[in-house]
């Protein structure tokens, strides 16, 4: 068993491997050096795992690349894997999210992109088709860009149905029950402190995660506020009580334990640093009713934040957690976030991490 961690940064991709059940890690040489890797995925549904990377070629534009030999060689589609149709009058600005669907939909991969758009591939990520139901949604012209851009940054296909959940900064949460044709905003209860009153949509939801035991139960780290829904977003309630701050970017739900999720609080919108300069992970075991703080192995005296996709879990037992900071440090936990080991230091800003267990 090998544990593989893909680390996408502002200037390249690194892979870390562990062959001793996540106790120690070996860091690779850089891949795609000098390219921004804002989205990465390890698709383990294939005979050979496929690395998918949403890259920005600096001057030369964004695209999706893939590797079927763990980074040794990379391919891209001649015409571009993600390419707006001419009548859309838009150009791809950044790939924010690459999300393989379930094993039953083996070649389906979703991509969330900037400008606000959702894409679906049926060939493993080599080419994508624009999801017109979202692109043509009457709300789209009024979705605002978040500070990072006008992005669909979260894509959560339900393996058991045709439901797809997306989150956007700053459009909020939308749900499709028919595979992407129709979309309904699901933001009631999520605050929008930057607006005079709570809107139907337009919230700056930073990340959404689905509970391991109930597809109707989701957690959201908002731009101010941490929330839970038990009815697939029809109503959200605050679960920020017990946290030192309700601002942050990522939220991760356990893939195996219902009610378990983690956040990494930052002080506030206007002070996006760890409280007191102490990088800490907070875990709930009861779906947000209470939180516990963990920090063994994480630094004090640090003022770097963790971005929305730079925090993830693996499928191990116990669950492994991985986080990367904007000052290029990567930490791994093999015990559900209670203690961490350092995987990497001094990398460029970490934009995304994704983990997989390989046989």
């Amino acid at each position: 068993m090998t544990d593989l961690l893909a680390i996408g940064t502002r200037k390249g991709l690194w892979l870390a491997r562990s062959d001793d059940d996540r106790r120690s890690w070996t860091l690779s040489e850089p891949y795609l050096l000098a390219q921004e890797v804002a989205a990465v995925s390890i698709d383990t549904r294939r005979p050979a795992p496929r690395l998918l990377a949403g890259i920005q070629y600096g001057h030369w534009g964004p695209t999706v690349m893939w590797s079927d030999d763990l980074g040794a060689s990379w391919q891209e589609t001649e015409q571009g894997a993600i390419r707006f149709p001419e009548e859309a009058g838009a150009a791809l600005a950044r790939v924010w999210q690459l999300r393989p669907d379930s094993p039953e939909r083996a070649d389906v991969v979703w991509a969330g992109c900037e400008p606000h758009s959702l894409w679906r591939s049926t060939d493993g990520g080599c080419s994508f088709e624009l999801v017109r139901g979202l692109w043509d949604h009457p709300h789209r012209p009024t979705w605002e860009p978040g500070g990072g851009g006008a992005a669909v940054h979260t894509v959560l296909p339900d393996p058991g149905s045709d439901r797809v959940v997306i989150a956007m900064s700053a459009g909020g949460v939308y749900v499709s029950e028919d595979g992407g044709n129709g979309w309904t905003p699901r933001n009631r209860g999520i605050s929008a402190g930057f607006l005079p009153e709570e809107p139907e949509y337009g919230q700056c939801v930073h990340k959404v995660a689905i509970d391991a035991g109930d597809p109707e139960r989701m957690y959201a780290q908002n731009h101010g506020g941490v929330f839970r829904t038990d009815d697939c977003g029809k109503q959200w309630t605050s679960i920020a009580g017990g946290l030192p701050a309700d601002f942050g970017f990522p939220i991760v739900a356990s893939p195996r334990t219902p009610g378990t999720a983690w956040v990494i609080p930052l002080v506030a919108d206007m002070q996006r640093v760890p409280p007191d300069g102490r990088l800490r992970v907070h875990r709930t075991r009861d779906a947000g009713e209470t939180w516990s703080e963990f920090g063994a192995g994480l630094p004090d005296g640090t003022w770097a934040s963790v971005l929305r996709d730079a925090f993830c879990a693996d499928t191990g037992d116990p669950t492994g957690l991985y986080l990367g900071t904007r000052d290029g440090c990567v930490y791994a936990s093999a015990d559900e976030g209670e203690t961490f080991t350092t995987v990497a230091e001094h990398l460029p800003d970490v934009l995304t991490v994704r983990a997989a267990r390989l046989p």
Binding site: H59, W60, F84, A90
Partner: protein, 93 residues
Amino acid sequence: MSVQVVLPGVLADLAGGHRKLEVPLGGGTLADLLDALAADHPMLARRIRDETGQLRRFVNVYVDGDDVRFERGLDTTLRDGTQVQVLPSIAGG
């Protein structure tokens, strides 16, 4: 009639390893040239223009030494023997 395209080294791999390309073109505009380039070298063309056909923000194109952004952009007229140079702008961090 042909136009010479001069590429930065970083793009040469996408043009068969060549930094200079002779593109047969019977007159026309810079847009016509880039369309012709896209037919033979689609990945190279994508580095220069996005899918709306616009020059990428940090890519500069010079026609006989003149920045086309200060000329007629993609409508800049090309003549037989014109040299078109593609250069990355100063950008990044």
